[in-house]
């Protein structure tokens, strides 16, 4: 009997069911009808996903060189498994599943270390006191890295990658409700971090205050120069 857990994964990968029921046999006939992509087309579609894979990998590990290695591993695995790709499904979603699995495997081998660097944060955080102004991207990147891995991948897939909750749940192998909850909590956490309820937000506000004070002192310096010149 085909398990629903297997079926769920079958959205992206071809499952070969057993033939214990008529429904399963019918499904098998449908799958047989799917003509696999030829190698050239597969390669072309794989190449088109590279930018997205890099962005997703970077959001997972926070380091561009590590992300590129992860994408390279993903491409090799995808190529080796190309016979299992269903052309009527999303290549991007399929490769994201592979990339995520590569990342988890490497995490288990402790290849990745803490992605958030407090020193870098201190050096790169910039002031932006205007709540309506665009956020500084470095702040957003760092806030992202502060999130838990589950929330981070959820918000990237749905909030930036353009996946639906259903697709993101398939990629992360979780329930749609869980995905919605993760995205919601990630949004709230990011808002708190970027708008002052956390160390990043507090620093942003403090930097804004420091910058305002520097402006005032600078203006005073200029004024005093003028007064000194007049006195002379």
């Amino acid at each position: 009997m085909l398990l629903w857990g297997q079926l769920k994964r079958g959205e992206f990968m071809t499952i070969i069911p057993d033939q214990s029921t008529k429904a399963d046999a019918a499904e098998m006939r449908n799958e047989e009808a799917v003509v696999p992509l030829d190698d050239a087309t597969f390669k072309q579609r794989l190449a088109a996903t590279i930018p997205h894979l890099r962005a997703f990998a970077y959001s997972l590990c926070g380091k561009m060189d590590v992300a590129d290695d992860l994408v390279q591993d993903t491409m090799l695995k995808a190529w080796a498994a190309r016979a299992r790709f269903r052309p009527d499904t999303s290549m991007r979603a399929w490769t994201f599943v592979i990339l995520r699995n590569c990342y988890i495997s490497q995490m288990r081998r402790n290849k990745f270390t803490a992605p958030y660097d407090e020193g870098v944060a201190e050096r790169t955080l910039t002031a932006n006191s205007d709540q309506q102004a665009p956020l500084h991207l470095e702040d957003v990147r760092m806030a992202l890295m502060q999130l838990g891995a589950d929330q981070r991948e959820a918000i990237i897939l749905v909030g930036a990658g353009g996946f639906s909750y259903e697709e993101a749940a398939e990629i992360c192998d979780c329930a749609v409700g869980t995905m919605k909850s993760r995205v919601s909590r990630a949004r709230a956490a990011l808002a708190a971090m970027l708008d002052g309820d956390s160390p990043i937000g507090t620093r942003r506000q403090r930097n804004a205050a420091d910058e305002a004070m520097s402006d005032i002192l600078g203006t005073l310096d200029k004024l005093s120069e003028g007064v000194t010149a007049l006195a002379a």
Partner: protein, 52 residues
């Protein structure tokens, strides 16, 4: 009761969403290292396909 559609919470979430997409696009649109072109041209040789 709020009458404006410019709910600050919604505006803030939209701003964060926009920034997230910028972070994502910033990486996606960045120049691709040469290693990927090389890999694509070598794929046939590198990976042994589990083929049909």
């Amino acid at each position: 009761m709020r009458t404006s559609c410019f709910d600050p919470v919604v505006m803030r979430q939209a701003r964060i969403g926009r920034s997230l997409r910028e972070v994502y696009d910033g990486v996606a649109d960045s120049p691709m290292p040469d290693q990927f072109d090389a890999l694509l041209s070598e794929l046939d040789k590198i990976a042994v396909p589990e083929r049909r």
